[in-house]
């Protein structure tokens, strides 16, 4: 039976060189990230090259994704949040493409099932919030941790709890995406493996294999939904965190 974890293995494609004893290699993970970037660029640049008044299919797709992200930012961070539009849009499209590329059977690789990738994205958001918040509000950014209208004697406790809740953000932000993609793909692989195992048993096995096969089909549909939804959740949480950088006062 195929190993359900094997699909997450990172393999070296080409060694670029060594830096301080560490090998720098072009891996399948990097390849899929590259494919995602090229795909997004082709979609956005190609679709907008013609810029017709009545949009064609590709242009409609590009306009829809623009409107989707712009609406998301407006509803969570307000119109001021639109200055972060390029950032949020890049993150949303990147995660969405990576998740969707992982759904391709036979040779698809899910980059977002590695926590190192999702953690890097989450930390990028985390530090963007801190840097932009301090740049625009200075010391007033610290009011994020001290809600107004709290009695002085419990303020230290509240500040501790707020700081904890702030620091836990990049963790929940990255673990959510990574865990959902990892668990979903393992489930898919395990049930697909059942079909193969039962099918090897003969006619009785074929009848028994119908159930896991149906389940595999259903889980595939669910995984497509999750792949989109997790990209959406990642982007909307980015907006919510950026909202704190824009409006730190309580």
């Amino acid at each position: 039976m195929a190993d359900p974890i094997h699909q997450f293995q990172i393999t070296k494609i080409y060694t670029l060189g060594t830096v301080a004893g560490h090998e720098i290699a072009f891996t399948n993970s990097a390849l899929f990230m590259g494919i995602a970037v090229v795909g997004i660029s082709l979609l956005m640049i190609g679709a907008t090259a013609k810029r017709s008044l009545v949009p064609g299919r590709a242009q409609t797709l590009a306009e829809l994704s623009y409107e989707f992200v712009a609406d998301m930012i407006r509803s969570t961070a307000g119109p001021e949040g639109l200055r972060f539009f390029p950032f949020v849009f890049s993150i949303f499209m990147f995660v969405l493409f990576l998740n969707m590329l992982g759904m391709i059977p036979l040779g698809g690789f899910t980059v977002t099932s590695h926590i190192v990738v999702t953690a890097a994205l989450a930390l990028l958001v985390f530090f963007t919030v801190i840097v932009s918040g301090v740049m625009h509000h200075g010391v007033k950014f610290l009011k994020l941790f001290a809600p107004s209208g709290i009695p002085v004697y419990i303020l230290p406790l509240i500040v501790c709890i707020e700081v904890m809740s702030f620091i836990s953000r990049p963790i929940s932000h990255s673990v959510r995406l990574f865990a959902n993609m990892l668990a979903g793909h393992i489930t898919l692989k395990v049930f697909a493996g059942f079909v193969v195992m039962l099918g090897a048993l003969g006619v009785g096995g074929w009848i028994g294999a119908v159930l896991p096969l149906a389940f595999t089909v259903a889980v595939t549909a669910l995984e497509l939904l999750v792949a989109f939804l997790q990209a959406y959740v990642f982007a909307i949480l980015t907006c919510i965190y950026l909202n704190d950088a824009i409006h730190p006062g309580h």
Binding site: E162, M164, R169, N180, N243, H247
Partner: protein, 153 residues
Amino acid sequence: MRGFLTRYTLASMVRAAFRDGENVSVFSGFAGVEGMADGARKRGERNGTPADEAALSARLRRLGERLDRARAGRAAKNGPGAGSVSDVSGLARGLRLSAELVGGVIVGAGIGLGFDYLLGTSPWGFIVLVMLGFAGGVLTVMRSAGVIPERRL
């Protein structure tokens, strides 16, 4: 998709259509809404008289108002919770809750262990900070579930 044609893109389309017919850039919206509107205004000043410009902007405003009314009517007809976007955001909200509690506890445990390691106060830093982390996690979950008001802006 809710609000597919925003007033901004529509305005640019109308302006552009008035300007030179066919070969227009609807999609310059990507460059940023404000910058685009400024550009359109500048072009308008160059090409048309102020009276034309005023008439055009009045028409645009009327069109925008009608669009807003139509959109409000559609939203009222569909009601809250209808349509794919709000379904998605409900699901997304549910999914968000799963990891947030765990995140708080993990951070508390990590900081507590580090604290103990550096200061040799084991196990007190761990105990206190795990509890604080748990409180922080509960706070995040309650905030994202909307049990307590998000932020008083």
